[in-house]
Protein backbone atom coordinates (compact mmCIF):
# COMPACT_ATOMS: atom_id res chain seq x y z
CA UNK A 1 0.00 0.00 0.00
CA UNK A 2 2.68 2.46 1.04
CA UNK A 3 4.52 1.95 -2.21
CA UNK A 4 1.61 3.27 -4.28
CA UNK A 5 1.81 6.98 -4.96
CA UNK A 6 -1.22 8.45 -3.27
CA UNK A 7 -1.69 11.47 -5.48
CA UNK A 8 -2.81 11.44 -9.05
CA UNK A 9 -0.21 13.71 -10.50
CA UNK A 10 -1.61 16.81 -12.06
CA UNK A 11 0.30 17.13 -15.27
CA UNK A 12 -0.25 19.90 -17.72
CA UNK A 13 -1.75 18.82 -21.05
CA UNK A 14 1.58 19.64 -22.71
CA UNK A 15 3.40 16.99 -20.68
CA UNK A 16 0.90 14.33 -21.69
CA UNK A 17 1.26 15.10 -25.41
CA UNK A 18 4.48 13.14 -26.09
CA UNK A 19 2.74 9.85 -25.36
CA UNK A 20 -0.89 10.79 -26.01
CA UNK A 21 -0.29 11.79 -29.64
CA UNK A 22 1.48 8.56 -30.69
CA UNK A 23 -1.22 6.48 -28.97
CA UNK A 24 -3.94 8.46 -30.74
CA UNK A 25 -2.20 8.06 -34.12
CA UNK A 26 -1.74 4.36 -33.47
CA UNK A 27 -5.44 3.92 -32.65
CA UNK A 28 -6.24 5.82 -35.84
CA UNK A 29 -3.97 3.77 -38.08
CA UNK A 30 -4.46 0.35 -36.54
CA UNK A 31 -7.60 -0.73 -38.48
CA UNK A 32 -5.57 -0.49 -41.71
CA UNK A 33 -3.01 -2.94 -40.36
CA UNK A 34 -5.02 -5.53 -38.44
CA UNK A 35 -7.92 -7.69 -39.58
CA UNK A 36 -11.54 -6.62 -39.01
CA UNK A 37 -12.10 -9.07 -36.17
CA UNK A 38 -9.26 -7.58 -34.14
CA UNK A 39 -10.47 -4.08 -34.95
CA UNK A 40 -13.91 -4.89 -33.56
CA UNK A 41 -12.27 -6.33 -30.47
CA UNK A 42 -10.38 -3.07 -30.06
CA UNK A 43 -13.64 -1.15 -30.45
CA UNK A 44 -15.11 -3.22 -27.60
CA UNK A 45 -12.04 -2.33 -25.56
CA UNK A 46 -12.40 1.39 -26.26
CA UNK A 47 -16.08 1.30 -25.34
CA UNK A 48 -15.30 -0.41 -22.05
CA UNK A 49 -12.51 2.13 -21.62
CA UNK A 50 -15.12 4.91 -21.58
CA UNK A 51 -17.10 3.00 -18.94
CA UNK A 52 -14.00 2.39 -16.82
CA UNK A 53 -12.98 6.04 -17.16
CA UNK A 54 -16.40 7.06 -15.82
CA UNK A 55 -16.25 4.45 -13.07
CA UNK A 56 -12.81 5.64 -12.00
CA UNK A 57 -14.03 9.19 -11.40
CA UNK A 58 -15.75 7.62 -8.39
CA UNK A 59 -13.15 5.05 -7.34
CA UNK A 60 -9.85 6.76 -8.15
CA UNK A 61 -10.78 10.39 -7.71
CA UNK A 62 -13.62 10.42 -5.17
CA UNK A 63 -12.72 7.27 -3.25
CA UNK A 64 -16.08 5.52 -3.66
CA UNK A 65 -16.17 1.89 -4.80
CA UNK A 66 -19.37 1.27 -6.74
CA UNK A 67 -20.38 -2.35 -7.26
CA UNK A 68 -23.38 -1.33 -9.34
CA UNK A 69 -22.05 0.33 -12.47
CA UNK A 70 -23.72 -2.34 -14.55
CA UNK A 71 -26.88 -0.29 -13.89
CA UNK A 72 -25.78 2.75 -15.92
CA UNK A 73 -24.16 0.68 -18.64
CA UNK A 74 -27.34 -1.37 -18.90
CA UNK A 75 -29.58 1.70 -18.85
CA UNK A 76 -27.61 3.18 -21.76
CA UNK A 77 -27.86 -0.08 -23.69
CA UNK A 78 -31.54 -0.69 -22.95
CA UNK A 79 -32.35 2.94 -23.79
CA UNK A 80 -30.98 2.29 -27.29
CA UNK A 81 -32.85 -0.98 -27.66
CA UNK A 82 -36.15 0.47 -26.43
CA UNK A 83 -35.86 3.59 -28.60
CA UNK A 84 -35.43 1.33 -31.60
CA UNK A 85 -38.25 -0.99 -30.53
CA UNK A 86 -40.85 1.70 -29.88
CA UNK A 87 -39.86 4.60 -32.17
CA UNK A 88 -38.13 2.63 -34.98
CA UNK A 89 -35.34 5.18 -34.98
CA UNK A 90 -31.99 4.04 -36.39
CA UNK A 91 -29.89 7.13 -35.92
CA UNK A 92 -26.94 6.54 -33.59
CA UNK A 93 -26.95 10.18 -32.48
CA UNK A 94 -30.55 9.92 -31.30
CA UNK A 95 -29.68 6.63 -29.60
CA UNK A 96 -26.85 8.34 -27.74
CA UNK A 97 -29.02 11.29 -26.80
CA UNK A 98 -31.63 8.93 -25.36
CA UNK A 99 -28.97 6.93 -23.53
CA UNK A 100 -27.44 10.07 -22.03
CA UNK A 101 -30.82 11.30 -20.81
CA UNK A 102 -31.80 7.89 -19.43
CA UNK A 103 -28.51 7.34 -17.61
CA UNK A 104 -28.65 10.91 -16.29
CA UNK A 105 -32.09 10.34 -14.79
CA UNK A 106 -31.20 6.94 -13.31
CA UNK A 107 -27.86 8.07 -11.89
CA UNK A 108 -29.53 11.17 -10.41
CA UNK A 109 -32.10 8.94 -8.73
CA UNK A 110 -29.59 6.35 -7.51
CA UNK A 111 -26.93 8.94 -6.73
CA UNK A 112 -29.33 10.88 -4.51
CA UNK A 113 -29.63 7.74 -2.35
CA UNK A 114 -26.07 6.43 -2.59
CA UNK A 115 -23.94 9.51 -1.86
CA UNK A 116 -25.18 9.52 1.73
CA UNK A 117 -22.90 6.57 2.32
CA UNK A 118 -19.26 5.72 1.84
CA UNK A 119 -17.06 2.64 1.99
CA UNK A 120 -18.77 -0.74 2.28
CA UNK A 121 -22.32 0.61 2.50
CA UNK A 122 -21.87 2.61 -0.68
CA UNK A 123 -20.76 -0.58 -2.43
CA UNK A 124 -23.69 -2.65 -1.16
CA UNK A 125 -26.25 0.07 -1.87
CA UNK A 126 -25.07 0.59 -5.44
CA UNK A 127 -25.16 -3.18 -5.90
CA UNK A 128 -28.71 -3.51 -4.50
CA UNK A 129 -30.00 -0.69 -6.71
CA UNK A 130 -28.43 -2.13 -9.84
CA UNK A 131 -30.17 -5.41 -9.05
CA UNK A 132 -33.55 -3.65 -9.01
CA UNK A 133 -32.98 -2.79 -12.67
CA UNK A 134 -31.66 -6.25 -13.46
CA UNK A 135 -34.75 -7.93 -12.00
CA UNK A 136 -37.03 -5.59 -13.95
CA UNK A 137 -35.22 -6.27 -17.23
CA UNK A 138 -35.25 -9.96 -16.39
CA UNK A 139 -38.94 -10.21 -15.54
CA UNK A 140 -40.77 -7.74 -17.81
CA UNK A 141 -40.68 -10.05 -20.79
CA UNK A 142 -43.16 -8.13 -23.02
CA UNK A 143 -41.03 -4.98 -22.83
CA UNK A 144 -37.44 -6.13 -22.40
CA UNK A 145 -37.63 -9.60 -23.90
CA UNK A 146 -36.43 -11.15 -20.63
CA UNK A 147 -33.32 -13.30 -21.04
CA UNK A 148 -33.81 -13.32 -24.83
CA UNK A 149 -32.90 -9.64 -24.79
CA UNK A 150 -33.63 -7.14 -27.53
CA UNK A 151 -32.10 -7.11 -31.01
CA UNK A 152 -30.83 -3.86 -32.45
CA UNK A 153 -29.83 -3.62 -36.15
CA UNK A 154 -26.89 -1.57 -37.39
CA UNK A 155 -27.60 2.12 -36.86
CA UNK A 156 -27.00 4.99 -39.27
CA UNK A 157 -24.06 7.21 -38.34
CA UNK A 158 -24.29 11.01 -38.60
CA UNK A 159 -27.40 10.62 -40.75
CA UNK A 160 -25.43 9.03 -43.59
CA UNK A 161 -26.81 6.01 -45.42
CA UNK A 162 -24.99 2.71 -44.87
CA UNK A 163 -22.20 2.53 -47.44
CA UNK A 164 -20.58 -0.84 -46.76
CA UNK A 165 -23.17 -2.65 -48.88
CA UNK A 166 -24.69 -4.44 -45.92
CA UNK A 167 -21.45 -6.07 -44.81
CA UNK A 168 -21.88 -5.80 -41.05
CA UNK A 169 -18.35 -6.89 -40.14
CA UNK A 170 -16.83 -4.27 -42.43
CA UNK A 171 -19.25 -1.64 -41.15
CA UNK A 172 -18.26 -2.33 -37.54
CA UNK A 173 -14.54 -2.55 -38.29
CA UNK A 174 -14.38 0.64 -40.36
CA UNK A 175 -17.20 3.19 -40.01
CA UNK A 176 -18.28 2.24 -36.56
CA UNK A 177 -14.73 1.85 -35.23
CA UNK A 178 -13.91 5.44 -36.17
CA UNK A 179 -17.22 6.61 -34.77
CA UNK A 180 -16.39 4.93 -31.43
CA UNK A 181 -12.85 6.31 -31.60
CA UNK A 182 -14.23 9.83 -32.02
CA UNK A 183 -16.42 9.47 -28.96
CA UNK A 184 -13.57 7.85 -27.09
CA UNK A 185 -11.28 10.85 -27.73
CA UNK A 186 -14.05 13.26 -26.75
CA UNK A 187 -14.74 11.37 -23.51
CA UNK A 188 -11.06 11.19 -22.58
CA UNK A 189 -10.69 14.90 -23.23
CA UNK A 190 -13.76 15.83 -21.19
CA UNK A 191 -12.68 13.58 -18.32
CA UNK A 192 -9.19 15.05 -18.44
CA UNK A 193 -10.63 18.53 -18.11
CA UNK A 194 -12.93 17.44 -15.29
CA UNK A 195 -10.26 15.80 -13.13
CA UNK A 196 -7.87 18.71 -13.59
CA UNK A 197 -10.50 21.34 -12.89
CA UNK A 198 -11.08 22.85 -9.43
CA UNK A 199 -14.03 20.45 -9.21
CA UNK A 200 -11.75 17.47 -9.81
CA UNK A 201 -9.30 18.76 -7.21
CA UNK A 202 -12.13 19.10 -4.71
CA UNK A 203 -13.10 15.46 -5.32
CA UNK A 204 -9.54 14.37 -4.62
CA UNK A 205 -9.53 16.46 -1.47
CA UNK A 206 -12.71 14.68 -0.34
CA UNK A 207 -11.14 11.31 -1.10
CA UNK A 208 -7.97 12.09 0.85
CA UNK A 209 -9.55 13.69 3.88
CA UNK A 210 -13.27 14.18 4.16
CA UNK A 211 -13.18 16.22 7.36
CA UNK A 212 -10.55 18.62 6.11
CA UNK A 213 -12.31 19.03 2.80
CA UNK A 214 -15.45 20.01 4.68
CA UNK A 215 -13.50 22.54 6.74
CA UNK A 216 -12.16 24.11 3.59
CA UNK A 217 -15.78 24.72 2.62
CA UNK A 218 -16.43 21.93 0.14
CA UNK A 219 -20.03 20.79 0.11
CA UNK A 220 -19.14 17.10 0.21
CA UNK A 221 -22.46 15.49 -0.61
CA UNK A 222 -23.15 17.82 -3.53
CA UNK A 223 -19.69 17.19 -5.01
CA UNK A 224 -20.10 13.45 -4.63
CA UNK A 225 -23.51 13.67 -6.25
CA UNK A 226 -22.17 15.52 -9.29
CA UNK A 227 -19.29 13.05 -9.57
CA UNK A 228 -21.85 10.24 -9.44
CA UNK A 229 -23.85 11.86 -12.25
CA UNK A 230 -20.82 12.33 -14.49
CA UNK A 231 -19.69 8.79 -13.79
CA UNK A 232 -23.13 7.37 -14.55
CA UNK A 233 -23.48 9.29 -17.82
CA UNK A 234 -20.03 8.21 -19.06
CA UNK A 235 -20.94 4.61 -18.34
CA UNK A 236 -24.33 5.12 -20.04
CA UNK A 237 -22.61 6.43 -23.18
CA UNK A 238 -20.40 3.35 -23.16
CA UNK A 239 -23.50 1.16 -22.86
CA UNK A 240 -25.11 2.83 -25.86
CA UNK A 241 -21.95 2.54 -27.98
CA UNK A 242 -21.66 -1.12 -27.00
CA UNK A 243 -25.08 -2.09 -28.42
CA UNK A 244 -24.32 -1.92 -32.18
CA UNK A 245 -21.13 -3.94 -31.59
CA UNK A 246 -23.01 -6.68 -29.80
CA UNK A 247 -26.25 -6.34 -31.77
CA UNK A 248 -28.22 -7.51 -28.75
CA UNK A 249 -28.92 -6.32 -25.22
CA UNK A 250 -29.51 -8.92 -22.53
CA UNK A 251 -30.01 -8.64 -18.75
CA UNK A 252 -26.45 -9.99 -18.29
CA UNK A 253 -25.07 -6.46 -18.61
CA UNK A 254 -27.26 -5.39 -15.68
CA UNK A 255 -26.31 -8.31 -13.45
CA UNK A 256 -23.87 -7.53 -10.66
CA UNK A 257 -20.92 -9.67 -11.85
CA UNK A 258 -20.73 -7.30 -14.83
CA UNK A 259 -20.19 -4.46 -12.36
CA UNK A 260 -17.41 -6.62 -10.97
CA UNK A 261 -15.83 -6.76 -14.44
CA UNK A 262 -15.81 -2.96 -14.65
CA UNK A 263 -14.09 -2.84 -11.26
CA UNK A 264 -11.67 -5.55 -12.42
CA UNK A 265 -10.54 -3.71 -15.56
CA UNK A 266 -10.05 -0.48 -13.64
CA UNK A 267 -7.90 -2.16 -11.01
CA UNK A 268 -6.04 -4.09 -13.72
CA UNK A 269 -4.99 -0.85 -15.40
CA UNK A 270 -4.49 1.01 -12.15
CA UNK A 271 -7.09 3.21 -10.52
CA UNK A 272 -4.55 5.67 -9.14
CA UNK A 273 -3.74 6.94 -12.62
CA UNK A 274 -5.77 8.75 -15.25
CA UNK A 275 -4.99 6.43 -18.14
CA UNK A 276 -4.96 3.21 -16.11
CA UNK A 277 -8.66 2.35 -16.51
CA UNK A 278 -8.43 2.79 -20.29
CA UNK A 279 -5.46 0.46 -20.62
CA UNK A 280 -7.10 -1.90 -18.17
CA UNK A 281 -10.30 -2.04 -20.23
CA UNK A 282 -8.50 -2.75 -23.52
CA UNK A 283 -6.19 -5.33 -21.93
CA UNK A 284 -9.06 -6.97 -20.00
CA UNK A 285 -11.05 -7.29 -23.18
CA UNK A 286 -8.21 -9.05 -25.01
CA UNK A 287 -7.45 -11.11 -21.93
CA UNK A 288 -11.04 -12.27 -21.53
CA UNK A 289 -11.48 -13.04 -25.22
CA UNK A 290 -8.29 -15.06 -25.42
CA UNK A 291 -8.97 -16.78 -22.09
CA UNK A 292 -12.42 -17.79 -23.29
CA UNK A 293 -10.88 -19.24 -26.45
CA UNK A 294 -8.08 -20.90 -24.55
CA UNK A 295 -9.92 -22.68 -21.74
CA UNK A 296 -13.41 -23.46 -20.45
CA UNK A 297 -12.18 -22.29 -17.09
CA UNK A 298 -11.43 -18.73 -18.18
CA UNK A 299 -13.27 -17.37 -15.16
CA UNK A 300 -10.92 -19.10 -12.73
CA UNK A 301 -7.95 -17.79 -14.73
CA UNK A 302 -9.24 -14.21 -14.56
CA UNK A 303 -10.07 -14.64 -10.87
CA UNK A 304 -6.53 -15.83 -10.16
CA UNK A 305 -5.15 -12.83 -12.07
CA UNK A 306 -7.34 -10.49 -10.00
CA UNK A 307 -6.20 -12.02 -6.71
CA UNK A 308 -2.57 -11.82 -7.85
CA UNK A 309 -3.01 -8.18 -8.90
CA UNK A 310 -4.53 -7.14 -5.61
CA UNK A 311 -1.87 -9.05 -3.65
CA UNK A 312 1.22 -8.10 -5.61
CA UNK A 313 0.50 -5.16 -7.91
CA UNK A 314 -2.18 -2.96 -6.34
CA UNK A 315 -1.04 -0.14 -8.62
CA UNK A 316 -2.19 -2.06 -11.69
CA UNK A 317 -0.37 -2.06 -15.02
CA UNK A 318 -0.01 1.69 -15.49
CA UNK A 319 0.56 2.34 -11.78
CA UNK A 320 3.38 -0.18 -11.71
CA UNK A 321 4.99 1.17 -14.88
CA UNK A 322 4.81 4.73 -13.57
CA UNK A 323 6.40 3.55 -10.35
CA UNK A 324 9.15 1.60 -12.11
CA UNK A 325 9.94 4.35 -14.58
CA UNK A 326 11.82 6.71 -12.23
CA UNK A 327 13.73 3.73 -10.85
CA UNK A 328 14.80 2.67 -14.33
CA UNK A 329 15.68 6.22 -15.22
CA UNK A 330 17.89 6.47 -12.18
CA UNK A 331 19.62 3.19 -12.92
CA UNK A 332 20.39 4.05 -16.53
CA UNK A 333 21.61 7.56 -15.86
CA UNK A 334 24.10 6.31 -13.32
Amino acid sequence: MSTVPLTLQARSPMKALPWAVPVALLLFALPQAIDPYKTILLAYGLVMGIAALGFNLLLGYTGLLSFGHSAYFGVGAYAVALIFKYFHVRSMELFLLGAILASLVVSALFGFVCVRYTRIFFGILTLALSQVLWSLAFKFYPITGGTDGLRVPTPTLLGLPLDTAGDKILFLARNYYYYVLGFFFACVLVMWVIVNSPFGKALQAIRDNETRAEFVGIHIRRYRFVAFLVSGVFTGIAGALWVPLNGLTTPDILYWPFSGEIVFMTVLGGFRTFSGPIFGAVVFNYLKTSAVGFTTYWQALLGAILVFLVLALPGGIVGTVVQLFPMLKKRFSR
Binding site: I120, K139, Q299, L306
Partner: protein, 292 residues
Protein backbone atom coordinates in the same frame (compact mmCIF):
# COMPACT_ATOMS: atom_id res chain seq x y z
CA UNK B 1 -57.05 -21.79 5.06
CA UNK B 2 -54.72 -24.64 4.12
CA UNK B 3 -53.42 -22.55 1.25
CA UNK B 4 -52.39 -19.93 3.78
CA UNK B 5 -50.64 -22.58 5.91
CA UNK B 6 -48.76 -23.80 2.86
CA UNK B 7 -47.73 -20.26 1.98
CA UNK B 8 -46.53 -19.80 5.53
CA UNK B 9 -44.52 -23.02 5.42
CA UNK B 10 -42.96 -21.97 2.13
CA UNK B 11 -42.03 -18.60 3.59
CA UNK B 12 -40.43 -20.33 6.58
CA UNK B 13 -38.64 -22.77 4.29
CA UNK B 14 -37.18 -19.92 2.33
CA UNK B 15 -36.33 -17.97 5.46
CA UNK B 16 -34.52 -20.96 7.00
CA UNK B 17 -32.15 -21.32 4.08
CA UNK B 18 -31.64 -17.58 3.79
CA UNK B 19 -30.92 -17.31 7.49
CA UNK B 20 -28.17 -19.92 7.20
CA UNK B 21 -26.52 -18.08 4.31
CA UNK B 22 -27.00 -14.53 5.58
CA UNK B 23 -26.27 -15.49 9.20
CA UNK B 24 -22.88 -16.80 8.14
CA UNK B 25 -22.18 -13.67 6.08
CA UNK B 26 -23.21 -11.48 9.00
CA UNK B 27 -21.19 -13.42 11.56
CA UNK B 28 -18.08 -13.11 9.42
CA UNK B 29 -18.65 -9.39 8.93
CA UNK B 30 -19.44 -8.84 12.60
CA UNK B 31 -16.21 -10.44 13.78
CA UNK B 32 -13.79 -9.75 10.94
CA UNK B 33 -15.27 -6.67 9.23
CA UNK B 34 -15.01 -8.40 5.87
CA UNK B 35 -17.78 -8.64 3.28
CA UNK B 36 -17.12 -11.92 1.55
CA UNK B 37 -18.44 -11.74 -2.02
CA UNK B 38 -17.59 -15.42 -2.45
CA UNK B 39 -19.90 -16.41 0.43
CA UNK B 40 -22.64 -17.48 -1.97
CA UNK B 41 -20.17 -19.84 -3.61
CA UNK B 42 -19.60 -21.61 -0.30
CA UNK B 43 -23.34 -22.18 -0.15
CA UNK B 44 -23.20 -23.58 -3.68
CA UNK B 45 -20.16 -25.69 -2.72
CA UNK B 46 -22.13 -27.22 0.16
CA UNK B 47 -24.97 -28.06 -2.21
CA UNK B 48 -22.65 -29.70 -4.73
CA UNK B 49 -20.77 -31.76 -2.15
CA UNK B 50 -23.96 -33.09 -0.56
CA UNK B 51 -25.50 -33.91 -3.93
CA UNK B 52 -22.32 -35.66 -5.01
CA UNK B 53 -21.82 -37.64 -1.79
CA UNK B 54 -25.46 -38.73 -1.71
CA UNK B 55 -25.24 -39.67 -5.38
CA UNK B 56 -22.13 -41.81 -4.72
CA UNK B 57 -23.69 -43.60 -1.76
CA UNK B 58 -27.12 -44.01 -3.32
CA UNK B 59 -26.63 -47.55 -4.64
CA UNK B 60 -27.81 -49.95 -1.95
CA UNK B 61 -27.17 -47.71 1.05
CA UNK B 62 -29.62 -47.68 3.91
CA UNK B 63 -31.90 -44.57 3.80
CA UNK B 64 -30.82 -43.55 7.30
CA UNK B 65 -27.20 -43.42 6.14
CA UNK B 66 -28.21 -41.18 3.26
CA UNK B 67 -29.82 -38.71 5.65
CA UNK B 68 -26.73 -38.81 7.84
CA UNK B 69 -24.68 -37.87 4.79
CA UNK B 70 -26.72 -34.70 4.33
CA UNK B 71 -24.41 -32.45 6.39
CA UNK B 72 -21.37 -33.51 4.32
CA UNK B 73 -21.65 -30.29 2.31
CA UNK B 74 -21.58 -28.20 5.48
CA UNK B 75 -18.39 -29.84 6.71
CA UNK B 76 -16.77 -29.55 3.30
CA UNK B 77 -17.62 -25.82 3.16
CA UNK B 78 -16.24 -25.37 6.68
CA UNK B 79 -13.01 -27.09 5.66
CA UNK B 80 -12.73 -24.91 2.57
CA UNK B 81 -13.27 -21.84 4.75
CA UNK B 82 -10.61 -22.95 7.20
CA UNK B 83 -8.16 -23.20 4.30
CA UNK B 84 -9.16 -19.91 2.61
CA UNK B 85 -9.07 -17.59 5.61
CA UNK B 86 -5.39 -17.90 6.57
CA UNK B 87 -4.12 -18.19 2.99
CA UNK B 88 -6.13 -15.64 1.03
CA UNK B 89 -7.90 -13.27 3.38
CA UNK B 90 -5.40 -12.74 6.19
CA UNK B 91 -3.05 -10.52 4.15
CA UNK B 92 -5.92 -8.08 3.56
CA UNK B 93 -7.12 -7.16 7.04
CA UNK B 94 -4.79 -4.20 7.23
CA UNK B 95 -5.74 -2.90 3.81
CA UNK B 96 -8.64 -0.83 2.59
CA UNK B 97 -12.05 -2.47 2.34
CA UNK B 98 -11.99 -2.03 -1.43
CA UNK B 99 -9.18 -4.56 -1.73
CA UNK B 100 -11.09 -7.07 0.37
CA UNK B 101 -14.09 -6.79 -1.95
CA UNK B 102 -11.79 -7.26 -4.94
CA UNK B 103 -9.98 -10.28 -3.62
CA UNK B 104 -13.22 -11.99 -2.62
CA UNK B 105 -14.63 -11.19 -6.07
CA UNK B 106 -11.59 -12.93 -7.57
CA UNK B 107 -12.23 -15.84 -5.22
CA UNK B 108 -15.84 -15.97 -6.41
CA UNK B 109 -14.68 -16.39 -10.01
CA UNK B 110 -12.21 -19.11 -9.05
CA UNK B 111 -14.68 -21.09 -6.91
CA UNK B 112 -17.36 -20.88 -9.59
CA UNK B 113 -15.03 -22.54 -12.09
CA UNK B 114 -13.69 -25.07 -9.58
CA UNK B 115 -17.23 -26.37 -9.20
CA UNK B 116 -17.61 -26.47 -12.97
CA UNK B 117 -14.32 -28.40 -13.13
CA UNK B 118 -15.26 -30.99 -10.50
CA UNK B 119 -18.92 -31.52 -11.24
CA UNK B 120 -19.38 -30.40 -14.83
CA UNK B 121 -21.81 -27.88 -16.25
CA UNK B 122 -24.94 -29.95 -15.58
CA UNK B 123 -27.19 -29.74 -12.50
CA UNK B 124 -26.51 -32.24 -9.75
CA UNK B 125 -29.50 -33.61 -7.86
CA UNK B 126 -30.24 -35.57 -4.70
CA UNK B 127 -34.00 -35.79 -5.17
CA UNK B 128 -34.26 -39.28 -3.68
CA UNK B 129 -33.88 -37.77 -0.22
CA UNK B 130 -36.77 -35.45 -1.00
CA UNK B 131 -39.01 -38.15 -2.44
CA UNK B 132 -38.36 -40.83 0.21
CA UNK B 133 -39.92 -38.71 2.92
CA UNK B 134 -43.24 -38.52 1.11
CA UNK B 135 -45.75 -35.83 1.86
CA UNK B 136 -48.17 -34.67 4.46
CA UNK B 137 -51.85 -33.87 4.13
CA UNK B 138 -52.78 -30.34 5.10
CA UNK B 139 -56.53 -30.01 4.73
CA UNK B 140 -57.21 -30.73 1.08
CA UNK B 141 -53.63 -30.22 -0.07
CA UNK B 142 -50.39 -32.15 0.27
CA UNK B 143 -47.08 -30.76 1.45
CA UNK B 144 -43.68 -32.47 1.18
CA UNK B 145 -42.38 -33.62 4.56
CA UNK B 146 -38.80 -32.85 3.55
CA UNK B 147 -39.57 -29.11 3.56
CA UNK B 148 -40.60 -29.41 7.21
CA UNK B 149 -37.24 -31.05 7.93
CA UNK B 150 -35.49 -28.04 6.32
CA UNK B 151 -37.51 -25.65 8.45
CA UNK B 152 -36.67 -27.54 11.63
CA UNK B 153 -32.97 -27.59 10.70
CA UNK B 154 -33.17 -23.82 10.21
CA UNK B 155 -34.80 -23.34 13.61
CA UNK B 156 -32.32 -25.69 15.28
CA UNK B 157 -29.37 -23.92 13.65
CA UNK B 158 -30.63 -20.55 14.86
CA UNK B 159 -31.05 -21.96 18.40
CA UNK B 160 -27.60 -23.55 18.46
CA UNK B 161 -25.98 -20.42 17.13
CA UNK B 162 -27.69 -18.27 19.75
CA UNK B 163 -26.58 -20.61 22.54
CA UNK B 164 -23.09 -20.74 21.07
CA UNK B 165 -22.64 -16.99 20.82
CA UNK B 166 -24.37 -15.96 24.05
CA UNK B 167 -23.93 -18.93 26.40
CA UNK B 168 -20.45 -20.30 25.85
CA UNK B 169 -17.00 -19.10 26.75
CA UNK B 170 -16.02 -19.08 23.12
CA UNK B 171 -19.03 -16.87 22.39
CA UNK B 172 -17.75 -14.30 24.89
CA UNK B 173 -14.35 -14.25 23.18
CA UNK B 174 -16.06 -13.96 19.81
CA UNK B 175 -18.19 -11.02 20.87
CA UNK B 176 -15.26 -9.32 22.57
CA UNK B 177 -13.20 -9.58 19.37
CA UNK B 178 -16.13 -8.26 17.39
CA UNK B 179 -16.52 -5.23 19.64
CA UNK B 180 -12.88 -4.26 19.95
CA UNK B 181 -10.35 -6.43 18.24
CA UNK B 182 -7.30 -4.62 19.65
CA UNK B 183 -8.49 -4.60 23.23
CA UNK B 184 -9.45 -8.27 23.01
CA UNK B 185 -5.96 -8.93 21.70
CA UNK B 186 -4.47 -7.02 24.62
CA UNK B 187 -6.52 -9.18 27.00
CA UNK B 188 -4.76 -12.23 25.62
CA UNK B 189 -7.24 -13.34 22.98
CA UNK B 190 -5.59 -15.02 20.03
CA UNK B 191 -7.32 -12.93 17.38
CA UNK B 192 -6.00 -14.95 14.47
CA UNK B 193 -7.55 -18.07 15.95
CA UNK B 194 -10.88 -16.34 16.59
CA UNK B 195 -10.90 -15.12 12.99
CA UNK B 196 -10.31 -18.53 11.53
CA UNK B 197 -12.96 -20.03 13.81
CA UNK B 198 -15.53 -17.36 12.97
CA UNK B 199 -14.87 -17.72 9.26
CA UNK B 200 -15.14 -21.50 9.49
CA UNK B 201 -18.47 -21.31 11.34
CA UNK B 202 -19.79 -18.80 8.80
CA UNK B 203 -18.80 -21.10 5.95
CA UNK B 204 -20.28 -24.08 7.78
CA UNK B 205 -23.62 -22.29 7.95
CA UNK B 206 -23.54 -21.38 4.25
CA UNK B 207 -22.60 -24.97 3.39
CA UNK B 208 -25.42 -26.30 5.58
CA UNK B 209 -27.83 -24.01 3.74
CA UNK B 210 -26.68 -25.50 0.45
CA UNK B 211 -26.75 -29.06 1.81
CA UNK B 212 -30.38 -28.89 2.96
CA UNK B 213 -31.56 -27.08 -0.15
CA UNK B 214 -30.14 -29.55 -2.65
CA UNK B 215 -32.60 -32.48 -2.23
CA UNK B 216 -35.54 -30.17 -2.91
CA UNK B 217 -33.95 -28.27 -5.78
CA UNK B 218 -30.64 -29.14 -7.39
CA UNK B 219 -27.11 -27.83 -7.44
CA UNK B 220 -26.55 -25.59 -10.46
CA UNK B 221 -23.79 -23.22 -11.51
CA UNK B 222 -24.61 -19.62 -10.65
CA UNK B 223 -26.74 -20.51 -7.62
CA UNK B 224 -24.14 -18.93 -5.35
CA UNK B 225 -24.15 -15.64 -7.23
CA UNK B 226 -27.96 -15.50 -7.07
CA UNK B 227 -28.02 -16.38 -3.38
CA UNK B 228 -25.44 -13.76 -2.45
CA UNK B 229 -27.52 -10.77 -3.52
CA UNK B 230 -30.51 -12.07 -1.58
CA UNK B 231 -28.26 -12.62 1.45
CA UNK B 232 -27.17 -9.01 1.03
CA UNK B 233 -30.79 -7.92 1.15
CA UNK B 234 -31.24 -9.90 4.36
CA UNK B 235 -28.19 -8.48 6.12
CA UNK B 236 -28.90 -4.95 4.96
CA UNK B 237 -32.46 -5.17 6.28
CA UNK B 238 -31.42 -6.82 9.53
CA UNK B 239 -28.13 -5.01 10.06
CA UNK B 240 -24.70 -6.12 8.87
CA UNK B 241 -22.99 -8.03 11.67
CA UNK B 242 -26.08 -8.85 13.72
CA UNK B 243 -27.38 -12.42 14.03
CA UNK B 244 -30.81 -11.36 15.33
CA UNK B 245 -30.96 -9.03 12.36
CA UNK B 246 -30.15 -11.87 9.97
CA UNK B 247 -33.00 -13.90 11.49
CA UNK B 248 -35.56 -11.10 11.24
CA UNK B 249 -34.28 -10.09 7.80
CA UNK B 250 -34.56 -13.67 6.56
CA UNK B 251 -38.14 -13.89 7.84
CA UNK B 252 -39.07 -10.60 6.17
CA UNK B 253 -37.49 -11.60 2.88
CA UNK B 254 -39.02 -15.09 3.08
CA UNK B 255 -42.52 -13.76 3.67
CA UNK B 256 -42.31 -10.94 1.11
CA UNK B 257 -40.93 -13.31 -1.48
CA UNK B 258 -43.54 -16.02 -0.91
CA UNK B 259 -46.42 -13.60 -1.17
CA UNK B 260 -44.69 -11.62 -3.89
CA UNK B 261 -44.42 -14.69 -6.11
CA UNK B 262 -48.17 -15.24 -5.96
CA UNK B 263 -49.38 -11.62 -5.88
CA UNK B 264 -46.91 -9.48 -7.85
CA UNK B 265 -44.56 -11.91 -9.64
CA UNK B 266 -43.06 -9.37 -12.07
CA UNK B 267 -41.69 -7.03 -9.44
CA UNK B 268 -41.14 -9.60 -6.66
CA UNK B 269 -37.32 -9.30 -6.82
CA UNK B 270 -37.40 -5.55 -7.37
CA UNK B 271 -39.55 -5.14 -4.26
CA UNK B 272 -37.00 -7.07 -2.20
CA UNK B 273 -34.14 -4.88 -3.34
CA UNK B 274 -36.22 -1.77 -2.80
CA UNK B 275 -36.97 -2.87 0.79
CA UNK B 276 -33.22 -3.05 1.33
CA UNK B 277 -32.79 0.45 -0.10
CA UNK B 278 -35.58 1.90 2.04
CA UNK B 279 -34.15 0.33 5.21
CA UNK B 280 -30.69 1.70 4.36
CA UNK B 281 -32.18 5.16 3.95
CA UNK B 282 -34.28 5.11 7.12
CA UNK B 283 -31.98 3.10 9.36
CA UNK B 284 -28.52 2.98 7.77
CA UNK B 285 -27.27 0.36 10.23
CA UNK B 286 -30.24 -1.95 9.58
CA UNK B 287 -33.04 -2.86 11.94
CA UNK B 288 -30.73 -4.50 14.50
CA UNK B 289 -27.35 -3.08 13.55
CA UNK B 290 -25.08 -1.03 15.70
CA UNK B 291 -24.67 2.49 14.39
CA UNK B 292 -21.71 2.48 12.08
Amino acid sequence: MDILVIHLFNALLYASVLFLIAGGLSLIYGVMRIVNLAHGNLYAFGAYVTAWVVGQALAGAHPVILYLLLPAGAFAAALLGAILEPTLLRPFYRRAEEYQLLVTFGLLMILEDLMRFFWGPYPLTATSLFEKMGSLKIGESVYPRYNLLVISIGVLAAGFLWAFVYKTRFGVVLRATSQDMRRASAMGVNVNRVYIQAFTIGCFMAGLGGAIVVPGQSAVLGMGVDALVLAFVVVVVGGLGSLEGALVGALIVGIVREFGVSVFPEVELAVLYLIAVVVLLVRPAGLFGRTA
